[in-house]
Amino acid sequence: MKKFLTVALAGVLAASMLFTGCSKKEEAKSEGEIPEKIVVGTNAEFPPFEFVNDDKEIDGFDIAVMKEIGKRLEVKVEVKNMEFKSLIGAMESKDLDVIAAGMTVTDERKEAVDFTDSYYTSNQYIIVKEDSPVKKISDLDGKTIAVQEGTTGDLVASGDYDSVKDAKVKRFKKGVDAVMDLKKGGSDAVIIDANPAQEFVKANKGLRVIKDQSSEEYYAFAIQKGNKKLQKAINKQLKAMKEDGTFDKLIKKYI
């Protein structure tokens, strides 16, 4: 029985390797195409860009923009909610066509996916308690920082950008858990993108935000590597939306 199990497991592993091997090869197809149904991956823990609204539906700026683009391209849009850190991996295994998750364009991410034109410029904000002595990002050296796993805030806190050194990083699944950790005194600060930071501070008394001037970053939709057709189509629609005012309307509505 034991032997059988060992062999079975080895078989499953080998098979799964083969299958991923296959999907990797398909990548060679050039140009790519616009799917009949665009599957959009997001992490609905990032207000106001994406969140679960009172009707239990995934809503937010990114989602609204993608739905509008879908309408203009005359394709269906399906939104999938998952953990932020899993998004790019899910795209690599071809389960997603677009990631609309307030994702910052970084060189590391560019190795794995392609990005559309940027549609929003943001900063990292530091959330601290009102009585905290922290004034700027370098004051966080050696402190305990709570972040949402895999976000730009995580990268900043982990020292990837050299703006913070030797900090102890607590990585949570959700931004709100990181903020709770700060509130309860488990950490000294939270680093998170500007808009969610403001939302969190609005919802929690006794916290204040500090803008990290050193970091300016650009949000863009991520698409499968090499899918030029979809990239062009989305860029075109983004531009059109900006020109006819739809984009500003959505910004006003959500942000």
């Binding site: 390797m17 899993s86 690599e92 895999g150 950790d181 005194g185």
Partner: protein, 228 residues
């Protein structure tokens, strides 16, 4: 296959990422062992509290308390228990201790039932024989019932340990860097899902396999005295 090798390099070798898996493994093993010890101690106390009911032949204060405790712990998911204990009881301090306490408490409810069932499985005639030979309740328990009960208890207890090890995978919810969290972290940096997940699964599998070998060897040793 090139892709496979490149992913393997990226996930395990680059930036010494294998060390993260090892550190995570240490946390997983450490928390599991500490939690199992706490769980067995608490479980024994609970089992004794529950057993007072059998001896007296009616519900006692102790057995009612133990029953309510076991009922609540078994009736709630361990993720929720972990979040409650980390955020509300420990106020986000000492994450690892909060993890040990959570899994210890969680496991104690199951251990209590295992111990109780193991003792109850020993034929009632054994107790009657002991008492009729003039031994006290305590002496009969210690010298006649428990040695037999232990053989019933240990295999099930080993099983509980295995379940516990795997359950610690939720420690990441409260930002503790265990084995699963290590693979989470690597996923968030390498942007590949396959290799960190399979790597993590294989490490867990080997760990449990090792544990199973140990438990089987132990059980065989216990069985040597059986006349069969």
């Amino acid at each position: 296959m090139d892709q496979f090798a490149a992913d393997f390099y990226k996930v395990f070798i680059r930036a010494n990422r294998y060390e993260m898996f090892l550190d995570g493994l240490k946390v997983t093993i450490g928390v599991s062992i500490a939690a199992v010890i706490l769980g067995v101690i608490l479980g024994m106390i609970l089992a004794i509290m529950k057993m007072t009911e059998v001896r007296k032949g009616r519900k006692t204060l102790f057995s009612v308390i133990a029953n309510i405790y076991i009922d609540i712990i078994r009736g709630t998911p361990s993720v929720v228990q972990l979040l409650i204990i980390y955020f509300l009881v420990f106020h986000t301090q000492m994450g690892i201790v909060a993890g040990v306490v959570t899994f210890g408490i969680n496991s104690s409810a199951y251990v209590a039932e295992i111990i109780r069932a193991g003792i109850m499985a020993v034929d009632n005639g054994q107790m009657e024989a002991g008492r009729s030979l003039g031994l006290s309740y305590g002496a009969t328990m210690k010298d006649i019932i428990l040695p037999q009960a232990i053989k019933n208890i240990l295999p099930a207890l080993g099983n509980e340990f295995i379940v516990l090890v795997k359950e610690t995978a939720i420690l990441g919810y409260v930002s503790i860097q265990d084995l699963t969290k290590a693979s989470d972290f690597i996923m968030s940096r390498t942007y590949t899902l396959f290799m960190p997940l399979i790597g993590c699964a294989v490490i867990y599998y080997l760990l449990i396999k090792l544990l199973t070998f140990g438990l089987n060897a132990f059980e065989r040793r216990l069985r040597q005295s059986d006349i069969r």
